[in-house]
């Protein structure tokens, strides 16, 4: 069954592909707007219908942008919200002490009574669902807006004075985090690896250089291992966080994490909650994508005619190389990511 995309969804896909909307935050915001629009304006009679619409649009977005997992993450959040609000309004299911309503667990397996064996029927029309959803959605929006700030306030706890920090490329979260740290701490040295071929590290360096009381050193990617012996901390951003606690980060992050492991330097990853995705690293084809190779070697050079040139965008960083995740809800170990996922998303929504 081919689902028809909404006009807004098509526009969003186009905007993302063309580059008008870029960065995870921007995409998340726009996607949230679309779903809000769906909730407000679309005619849906019951929770089930709404969830169908959301699922359909999410599938379309996923198919169009397989790497942008934030779209499906937000869709899953919406679905979970819908279920929650519906249940609250129904006040049917007895909630147990913890939130095991949402999660499959041994406990749940073991304690199900015969009534609760029947899954909740979402197709019953429910009064006040729309308003409740919009309220809750407001909360989600606020959370989204303040996610950056919430991460930054933790800067003080993790960075002390006279530290040498290494970072890679240009991440919005890392930039704000470091700026906050610079304000609060003295004599920081920040080493920025430029992350060729886009060299976005230069942007970060230029932006940080405007601050006082900090020393910025820009190094080429090749010097990461050489400098690592002097680095105190590695702070990087990521594109998304996978279900096992691993990362899908900018290409080059794997090398940074490996070098940090070699010298036992802690790797701190700044990841707001909307980047947490319940995917696993299994389909290698869909995991990575390659970008334009022109920056790597110009098309018109002679060997480039016959050589294969790759410019991959992402890198997989296994969870054992990551020391700490800092998200807007606080700090977490990579082994705890599974728990965050169960709190964020409903298990039935893992496969949209």
């Amino acid at each position: 069954m081919r689902e028809q995309p909404l006009k807004e969804v098509t526009q969003l896909i186009h905007a993302i592909k063309v580059g008008l909307v870029e960065g995870s935050y921007g995409i998340t915001n726009k996607t949230l707007d679309i779903f809000k629009y769906i909730i407000i304006s679309k005619s849906w009679k019951n929770a089930d219908a709404l969830m169908q619409i959301v699922r359909a649009q999410c599938r379309i977005l996923q198919a169009a942008l397989p790497q942008e997992t934030v779209t499906s993450n937000i869709a899953r959040r919406i679905l979970k919200l819908t279920r929650e609000e519906f249940d609250l309004l129904h006040a049917k299911v007895q909630h147990f002490a913890d939130d095991s309503q949402a999660s499959l667990s041994l406990h749940k397996l073991v304690t199900q009574t015969s009534e609760s064996n029947v899954s909740v029927d979402y197709s019953v029309p429910q009064q006040g669902l729309r308003e409740a959803l919009l309220d809750h959605l407001q909360e989600v929006e606020t959370e989204l807006e303040t996610s950056s700030e919430n991460i930054c306030v933790q800067a003080e706890e993790h960075i002390h004075s006279s530290e040498i920090i290494l970072t890679l490329g240009h991440s919005r979260s890392v930039e704000n985090f470091l700026k906050r740290a610079i304000k609060k701490r003295q004599f920081l040295t920040i080493i920025v690896a430029e992350c060729a071929p886009a060299c976005r590290g230069h942007n970060l360096a230029a932006s940080l250089a405007a601050e006082k009381n900090v020393e910025i050193i820009v190094i080429p990617d090749a010097a990461i291992f050489a400098m690592m012996s002097r680095v105190n901390k590695v702070i990087i951003g990521t594109h998304s966080v996978l279900a096992n606690g691993g990362l899908r980060a900018a290409c080059g992050a794997y090398t940074v994490a490996l070098a940090a492991k070699h010298y036992s330097v802690p790797v701190i990853v700044l990841a707001p909650m909307y980047k947490l995705s319940p995917l696993h690293l299994c389909e290698q084809d869909a995991f990575n994508m390659v970008g334009c190779a022109e920056d790597v070697i110009p098309y018109d050079s002679i060997p480039a005619r016959e050589a294969k040139v790759y410019s991959p965008m992402f890198d997989y960083v296994p969870p054992e190389l990551v020391t700490l995740f800092i998200s807007n809800t606080g700090g977490h170990a990579p082994s705890y990511v599974y728990r965050l996922l169960t709190e964020l998303y409903h298990p039935e929504d893992l496969e949209i």
């Binding site: 095991s100 041994l106 199900q112 015969s114 064996n117 096992n244 705890y336």
Partner: protein, 326 residues
């Protein structure tokens, strides 16, 4: 009729009389239990020991009348002990039995015995249904990780792994499987036979060739007899070595285990594993000359666990168990 309290404690002097009567009654019961258990396993070769144990316990619940919950508990425990004595995989039986007991007696309100019993039977049936399907669920989850042209290493014979591989092959994927002999017995050959029957390419290798083969495989997939609280597994001897090699060669190590295999054990090392798990009953008196049947693989060597509750990291197992037993 003595009052039934929540804990099922009986009153006073009648207790001793009934319990002694009960004990006489029990010996026969237990013999029946074991017979039923073995019958179940005979009939269906594919049934896991844990499931068979649960079925047996359910049968007891259905067939017998119990005065008190306390008696019920005791009977169940004794039944489990009897099944353990059959010298089959004790870990699965213990964990399944434990879980079943917990399951049926959990948060029973102040109701009549009969009502309780009906509730428990109901729950038991639901539980069993869910668990029957668990292998299916696990196999489905493992599909995404088996890609075309991949090379898989597995240890001896595991029905869950077999099911996962057969499902993958039915989904038109072609891959190659290396199967270790699995020590004494011919479980390795049985696995090869089953795989060949399903049309899957496979090779039988010596247990000692695990290190040699490891650099050329893509990942390791094993079953488990029990999943312990630390997130590690108890599995046929040789699994620990395989886990060590896999970690050294940076290959993922996947464990396929149903949820009823979760048990509240926490071994610290190989020595810390109880002897009943490691040796068959007849050798328990003198273990110095015998080699164990199972070993313990710590969670640090395991990449992911595929269970019917979802794909879990080893640290999530402890979470599950805590939720259950607290």
């Amino acid at each position: 009729m003595p009052q039934i309290t929540e804990t099922g404690k009986e009153f006073g002097e009648q207790e001793s009389f009934i319990s002694s009567l009960f004990k006489l009654f029990n010996r026969r019961l237990l013999a029946d239990v074991v017979k039923y258990f073995l019958q179940l396993l005979d009939k269906d070769k594919d049934m896991s020991y844990g499931i068979a144990a649960i079925r047996t316990l359910l049968m007891i619940l259905e067939k017998k009348q119990f005065g008190t919950i306390h008696i019920l508990h005791t009977t169940m425990r004794e039944a489990v002990a009897a099944m353990r004595n059959t010298d089959l995989s004790i870990a699965a039986i213990v964990s399944a039995g434990e879980l079943f007991c917990r399951f049926i007696t959990l948060s029973l309100d102040d109701k009549h015995m009969e009502e309780c019993r009906l509730i428990m039977i109901n729950r038991g049936k639901i539980f069993l249904d869910k668990l029957d399907n668990s292998r299916q669920v696990i196999a489905k989850q493992a599909q995404r990780f088996i890609s075309d042209g991949c090379r898989i290493l597995t240890h001896s014979r595991s029905r869950v792994v077999l099911k996962a591989l057969i499902t993958a092959s039915q989904n038109k994927k072609s891959f190659h499987v290396f199967v270790t002999q699995g020590g004494t017995g011919n479980s390795g050959e049985e696995m090869i036979r089953d795989l060949n029957a399903a049309g899957i390419d496979c090779t039988l290798i010596l247990d000692s060739a695990t290190g040699y083969v490891m650099e050329s495989v893509d990942f390791v997939m094993v079953g488990a007899e029990a999943v312990v609280e630390s997130g590690g597994i108890i599995n046929r001897i040789g699994s620990y070595t395989m886990g060590l090699c896999a970690r050294e060669m940076k290959k993922p190590f996947y464990v396929l285990a149903e949820s009823f295999k979760f048990t509240r054990l926490y071994p610290l090392n190989q020595r810390d594993l109880p002897n009943e798990y490691k040796y068959s009953r007849k050798h328990l008196s003198d273990v110095s000359k015998v080699h164990p049947l199972v070993d313990y693989t710590p969670p640090v060597y395991i990449t992911l666990l595929f269970t019917d509750l979802g794909i879990l990291t080893p640290s999530a197992v402890s979470d599950e168990l805590i939720k259950l037993y607290m």
